[in-house]
Symmetry: C2
Subunit: 210 residues, 2 copies
């Protein structure tokens, strides 16, 4: 018979709070509500209700609704910026770096899907949103630069404008938030492979060596 284990408080990241309702849980609930019903339409009351706690329990973890929005957008942006930074620092052709940043972006999107979904729906209605949009534009410009570099080295088909290619490619990556749900039959790596396969090599079966 195993010895009785002494009661221990559950280990939590962030500031302590009601079990299961730490800062991380508050953030997750906020992202879900902001995405589903809009940031403006979501009150701290709604959030407390969704978590089954009091409003003051929410304020125990975060200073304001805007802080939650800033935290969520920062999480999505930090992941996407890291994908671009790491790839920019890598060796190899612009094509191989572009291929890799597409795969990495898909992986970030899967890992941080709720936060990325929220980021993609932000319209710049507040200072927090405008700062996030400016960072997002910075990422988009670096990705577009990589597409141009790949076109200039001659590794992308020449009949499509690089600006249009950039829109199509990252539009395809972003569109995953609309339907992909983690935990299904396709994992993040398979999804990244499939997106890269379609976008770079195409869906058509070919007799030549791929």
């Amino acid at each position: 018979m195993p010895p009785p284990t002494p009661p221990t408080p559950p280990v939590r990241r962030g500031r302590p709070g009601r079990p299961g309702h730490d800062r991380e849980a508050v953030l997750a609930a906020a992202v879900e509500l902001f995405t589903r019903q809009g940031y403006a339409a979501t009150s701290v009351d709604d959030l407390a209700r969704a978590l089954g706690v009091t409003k003051s329990a929410v304020y125990h973890h975060v200073g304001s609704k805007a802080e939650l929005l800033a935290l969520a957008l920062d999480r999505a942006l930090t992941g996407l910026e890291a994908a671009v930074d790491d790839t920019a620092a890598a060796a190899g052709s612009a094509y191989s770096r572009l291929h890799e940043v597409v795969r990495r972006s898909v992986e970030v999107l899967v890992a941080e899907q709720p936060a990325v979904t929220l980021l993609l729906r932000v319209h710049g209605n507040s200072e927090v949103e405008r700062r996030a949009l400016a960072r997002r534009r910075g990422i988009d410009e670096r990705l577009a630069g990589l597409v141009r570099a790949a076109a200039e080295e001659g590794s992308l088909r020449a009949d499509l404008d690089p600006h249009l290619v950039s829109r199509l490619l990252f539009g395809t990556v972003n569109s995953l938030v609309e339907w992909y749900r983690p935990g299904g039959p396709v994992d993040a790596e398979q999804l990244a492979d499939a997106v890269a396969a379609m976008c770079f090599d195409g869906l058509a079966e070919r007799s030549d060596d791929r």
Copy 2:
């Protein structure tokens, strides 16, 4: 000499109304507001304000807010269903029909962008929305069937699951509503060509015959 023509009232579709604020203009304003701020958050008062008319002027053209939603969703769905119907009736391989339905879907999306954008944001919160989602599922199932047929005839690469291919392909088409704006440097036909080129043939430059 032709006989004098009697004065005729201007020809308008729908019920007559204030010039420039006919049923079509009311519908366009409603789609814009529903998409931007959500159907639930939009009142007929908001709509009247956006059009610069009275609420009763709006009700002169439409019976209710729900009727406007139904009209807009029907417009998007009718266009997309026609693309699938026409392609299903066409001769040729499943691959050529799939290629064509992708191109046609892009064209519908450009022609009816506001209505398609609204359709893609509908979540089934009312009977009108649920009926629209059921029609959308019907379209998606027929598109997935065409992808399966193309895979079975051996014209799609064999390393990707047809269900995943269908999601990626039409996710890419749908993602155009997020960034494409008519009137720019790329017209509907060029956009359709570019989407089909990327998805079927891939972005990578190849030395072999495409």
